[in-house]
């Protein structure tokens, strides 16, 4: 079902990505009726899990956010979020990414998250992760975030894959457990 609000059309699943505060701030007096519609809707999707390769080993990525630092991760068929910055980036995550997933669900890759904001970096990263976790939850897809130290702090990851170099060797860990090296 598609809901047309002003100049844009949204699926109910897309609207489910919005938080109540966002619905109110963006859709104004239409927000309560959108919320009512959402509460009546039945939105079911099977979880999408994909297999990725890290240092030649296979890792299963399940719906939710996976944090990756220092690792080259091969995720076949994944959608890479364009290299947008600041508000363009957040706008893409909330308005455009769900539309791309409507056409075909797949894993999502977000590169260089820590460098996506030229100001208010910490709040921007936090907000981007919040939106991405809602997208992952509504569409039940894995979202892989390549980040640095700033995004590592966030607590909502379902998995953390971290690779480091020690004495010329690459060591990779998944949730603290050694994967290779």
């Amino acid at each position: 079902m598609v809901v047309v609000v002003g100049k844009e059309a949204f699926t109910l699943r897309h609207l489910k990505v919005f938080r109540r505060e966002e619905l109110e701030a963006i859709f104004g007096e239409l927000a309560p009726s959108i919320e009512r519609e959402l509460s009546r809707a039945l939105l079911l999707l099977a979880p999408l899990a994909v297999r990725a390769q890290v240092c030649g080993r296979e890792v299963l990525l399940t719906p939710g956010l996976t944090y990756v630092r220092g690792a080259a991760l091969a995720v076949p068929g994944a959608l890479t979020v364009p290299g947008l910055l600041d508000a363009d980036f957040l706008e893409y995550l909330l308005f455009d990414l769900p539309r791309v997933l409507e056409e075909g669900r797949r894993a999502v890759l977000v590169e260089d998250l820590d460098d996506r904001f030229t100001q208010h970096e910490e709040q921007g990263i936090r907000y981007a992760l919040d939106i991405l976790s809602r997208v992952a939850s509504a569409y039940r897809v894995p979202v892989v975030v390549f980040g640095g130290r700033a995004s590592e702090e966030w607590r909502g990851y379902v998995k953390r894959i971290i690779c480091t170099k020690e004495e010329g060797r690459v060591l990779c860990f998944v949730d603290g457990e050694k994967l290779c090296g």
């Binding site: 609000v5 002003g6 100049k7 844009e8 938080r19 505060e21 966002e22 701030a25 963006i26 859709f27 104004g28 239409l30 039945l42 939105l43 079911l44 508000a87 957040l90 706008e91 909330l94 308005f95 208010h120 709040q123 921007g124 936090r126 907000y127 919040d130 939850s137 039940r140 607590r155």
Partner: protein, 117 residues
């Protein structure tokens, strides 16, 4: 104790989603047994859609889920414990991801001009 841990485990597993009974377990007997356990403690909403049974956490379940998430945060924290908000959020106060986040208003403005409202 085992029953309590099982309930907490299922609350975490269901999370904020609506799940099919068959997603709780493909073994129908086990799925119904889990559902009865959760229902007896009044932590889930159950609704039928044709032949499908859909399960989600109710208000009590979601409250337990948020406490479990808080417990996980504490377990994962190294060093001094992070303080819980000193005062509960007043009614109508903005949630933490919005409060003081300049990107919220920037994105809201972008959204409003996109939809043209």
């Amino acid at each position: 104790m085992n029953e309590l841990l099982r309930i907490l485990g299922w609350v975490m597993k269901i999370g904020e989603e609506e799940v099919l009974l068959s997603e709780i377990s493909r073994n129908s007997r086990k799925a119904h047994e889990v559902l009865e356990l959760l229902r007896a403690r009044g932590v889930v909403n159950v609704r039928k859609k044709g032949r499908l049974t859909i399960v989600s956490l109710n208000e009590k379940g979601l409250e337990i889920l948020s406490l479990l998430k808080r417990a996980r945060e504490l377990l994962e924290t190294q060093g001094p414990l992070p303080a819980v908000a000193a005062e509960p959020e007043a009614a109508g106060e903005l949630p933490s991801f919005v409060a003081g986040n300049p990107w919220f208003s920037i994105l809201a403005q972008r959204g409003r001009s996109r939809v043209g409202l």
